[in-house]
């Protein structure tokens, strides 16, 4: 058993005496005996840090998919990008890590300015003027966008392209149970959203993923036209790396941009903590969910930063708040700002370009493999879906033996009990990042050929 308590027994005794009770248990004398725990918690005995470290090392060793074992071609919204030591060192500084939410701006300029820089970067990526200080992840950022659309339009009908990540749609459905939103999923045809024939009545939001979760470059213009026609908001759910070179959400006419910020400085982390990106038009700023940092001055006229428009937030607005988000993902936002600072204008473009180059190189090779057929011929960016001769899960298992995490079996995305209608078991989603070498891509081709034999 270990703990991190400073108190010596003598100090405890003296403090108890000052407080006027005669034992630590005595501090709880007013807790009804009926509910007090008798035998103590039923937990494994405490252990020292080095003993616990050995246990953790055991967990790690049983993760066959760790990076030292498998070369990663899995994507589906979580990508294996370079995170250099410099970014880890800076974002890991304990002043950022162990700070609370910057409620006292006079002693929190470090975090506040980092968030301000992050907001600027997200706004630039999205082509929209305002970004918030982060949300939990891409999926919940989408939910907040729908809530914003509801607030903006007074309507509840959400037209969501089925090209939006299945998990994000699932999350949207879950929360719709509370908000009463109607989430209408618009099918994909040939890898692209088929907006034709959609009922346009009472639409609050039109949501399109760009690229969509199959990697395909949708036409946000079509979604924009629909949104414009119905008076709903256009929400673009974007891959932020692709956003480095693609026409921006703002340029496509979006009112809201949401995205998963993990590719900027956050490790794969088995899915979290990640980073919900959120940007919107000026018109929506009073409906912005979560925290926002603004520039101001101190009493001496010096530039200073502070969390602002707090009247939207739950701690002030309570049941009328724009959102219930309080704790967000600030540290990941700081990491993203640092990672983007490291990449710079050129580096971001380079990463996006290399992803596209690698994905197209691999796609071209794989298209020639026997037993492989592209799911769609629509243009894609850094990820693509293949129809295989045998179940994709089996292929993933076989390729793991070759040191490759081959991708994501589409039917596994929702978990076995959550199959998506558009997820037949033979479809494999393959992603390529700037870290994948030609040798790795060529090895992939050979290994897949072997797995399909």
């Amino acid at each position: 058993m270990a703990d991190y308590l400073p108190h010596t027994p003598e100090e405890v005794a003296a403090m108890l005496a000052f407080v006027g009770v005669d034992s630590l248990e005595g501090l709880y004398a007013h807790v009804p005996a009926a509910v007090r725990l008798a035998g103590g918690l039923d937990l494994p005995a405490g252990m020292t840090e080095p003993d616990a470290a050995a246990v953790v090392a055991g967990y790690g060793s049983r993760n066959g998919a760790r990076a030292s074992e498998l070369v990663c071609f899995a994507g589906a919204g979580a990508y294996d990008h370079e995170v250099p030591p410099v970014v880890r060192a800076l974002a890991g500084r304990s002043e950022f890590v162990t700070a609370y939410t910057p409620y006292q701006p006079e002693v929190a300029q470090g975090v506040l300015q980092a968030i301000f820089e992050y907001q600027t970067l997200v706004a630039r990526l999205s082509g929209l003027p305002i970004a918030n200080a982060s949300l939990y992840d891409g999926a919940t950022a989408l939910v907040e966008a729908l809530n914003m659309a509801h607030g903006a339009t007074g309507r509840s009908r959400m037209l969501v392209s089925s090209g939006v990540h299945p998990h994000w749609r699932a999350v949207a459905r879950t929360f719709a149970a509370g908000t009463g939103h109607v989430v209408d999923e618009v099918p994909l045809v040939g890898g692209l959203t088929d907006w034709s024939g959609v009922d346009t009545a009472g639409v609050a939001a039109v949501v399109v993923a760009y690229p969509n979760y199959l990697g395909v470059l949708e036409d946000p213009g079509a979604a924009k036209a629909l949104a414009a026609a119905t008076g709903g908001l256009l929400v673009v759910a974007g891959d932020p790396v692709a956003a480095g070179v693609l026409r921006s959400a703002g340029a496509w006419g979006a009112d809201v941009f949401v995205g998963e910020g993990q590719p900027f400085g956050t490790a794969l982390s088995f899915g979290g903590p990640y980073l919900g990106l959120f940007a919107c038009s000026d018109a929506q700023v009073r409906r912005l969910p979560g925290r926002i940092v603004g520039e101001t001055v101190d009493t001496e006229g010096r530039r200073a930063y502070v969390t602002t428009l707090r009247a939207r937030e739950q701690d002030i607005r309570r049941e009328k708040a724009t959102s219930n988000v309080c704790t967000n993902q600030t540290l990941m936002a700081v990491a993203a700002a640092v990672q983007l600072g490291w990449l710079g204008t050129q580096g971001l473009r380079e990463v996006a370009t290399r992803c596209a180059q690698g994905a197209h190189y691999l796609y071209d090779q794989l298209a020639a493999v026997d037993g492989v057929a592209p799911v769609t011929s629509a243009p894609f960016f850094r990820e693509f879906a293949l129809r295989l001769r045998r179940p994709a899960r089996e292929v993933v298992a076989l390729m793991a033996a070759e040191g490759i995490l081959a991708g994501v079996a589409l039917d596994a995305l929702g978990g076995p009990e959550d199959p998506s209608a558009d997820a037949p078991d033979e479809v494999l989603l393959v992603a390529v990042t700037e870290r994948r070498t030609r040798a790795e891509l060529d090895h992939y081709v050979r290994a897949l050929r072997g797995a399909l034999r």
Binding site: M15, L37, A65, F96, A99, T101, G271, T330
Partner: protein, 502 residues
Amino acid sequence: MTASPAGRASSAPLMGRDAEPTLFEISVPGRRAYQLRTTDVPARALEDLVPAAHLAEAPVAVAEVSERDLVAHVTRLSHRQFSVDLGMYPLGSCTMKYNPKFCDAVAADPALASVHPAAPAELTQGWLEILVNLEERLCAITGMAAATLQPAAGAAGELTGLLLMRAYHASRGDVRRRVVIPDSAHGTNPASVTLGGYEVTTVPSNDRGLVDLEALRRVLGPDVAGIMLTNPNTLGLFEEEIVEIAAAVHDVGGLLYYDGANLNAILGVVRPGDMGFDIVHMNLHKTFATPHGGGGPGAGPVAVAAHLVDFLPGPRAVRDGGRLAWATPARSIGRVHGWHGNALVLARALAYIDVHGAEGLTRVAQHAVLNANWLRRRVGEILPAAHDRMCMHECTLQATLLKERYGVRALDVAKTLLEEGFHAPTVYFPLIVEEALMFEPTETESPQTLEALAQAIERIAERAATDPEGMRRAPQTTPVARVDEARAARHLVATADTPRPL
């Protein structure tokens, strides 16, 4: 070049005192820091790969800095930031305890951090063990049957809990409209209630700072889906009539939701399940020592009693013979997170729990309560407690005396405390307490640190008598002086690109 180059230098630091230009201000076109792998992948032009209609006219302008300047910029920013590692953060309701560096090492372990969330269960058995073990531990700690680890923070847990409530009632064909919360509740509670599709019914506190049981009984009825409570409540007081409250709510068919933000006070002493709660969220970033990261990430697992297990979000990691697998409960409300929750935060929390064990966690709670009570008594003459009796892990004090005598408000006390090198307590919360200053010392602060805080408060009281004006301008010795919050809201400048007000 003339002698002077274009562009702005990254600032010269004076130990956090000097303003730091933004990343954009120190950017110089053509400068770079990034280095990527050599891949030998054929370098085709982007225009060959992506149809022209999709390409931006110009790449996004990020900023262009050298690695050296990036390091200096961010390191200097860090010197303008208070943190637990620098000093005491007695911020009520936030449990800003010391976060063991060991847990940082766990979260940084590449064998955990490098795993893709969609890798098949067979290749992520270690992670699934972590999730299952943590769920079991959290259930043992709260006295519940099962838990979801997906919610990314406390508020996400609350909303998840409310959706569970809704699904539960719906499954019984029971349509309910209202959720009761005390007037002392944290703002996330009412906000979550709205998002859960319920109306808020507020129940007042009695003069002991506790839920007014009679008032509660009056608002209860068959349309009440449940009640959200923290216990100890946000005043730091234990709801002594919790058994009666639970009975009253259950009697009308409602469920009890436990906001676990204050769980640190009762670890190993009393369990929400045993008090009658049906649903519990925990803030792992409070009780289980995840550092707050300047505002996040946290994690807000939700544990439930047996009758609610079937509704939990999925998929959940479960034991399946000798292996571990994913499974989604039969009547799951669905996913509440894009993947499995804030996994690395979950791994940290498991490590923290496993180091402590039952005994260690109980000691954590006891010492947190001891510290809070000591402080309450120690400074009570200057800042009287809103309710001067045994508190739990935090105490709600009031600046009323200072205000009456010198016109100095809770905010001024808080800001002056910054000049003393302490972080401020939570101010003006809970809303029902006038001039509230909520102190939560946490268990990791030593008696000596508490005493130093008390002496700082004594100095502040003296200053209030002699220099109330100065206190209203405080702090002056911090990296920036008191900040103009109104101006920020009046002219929103949320990015470096926003036009500045004239």
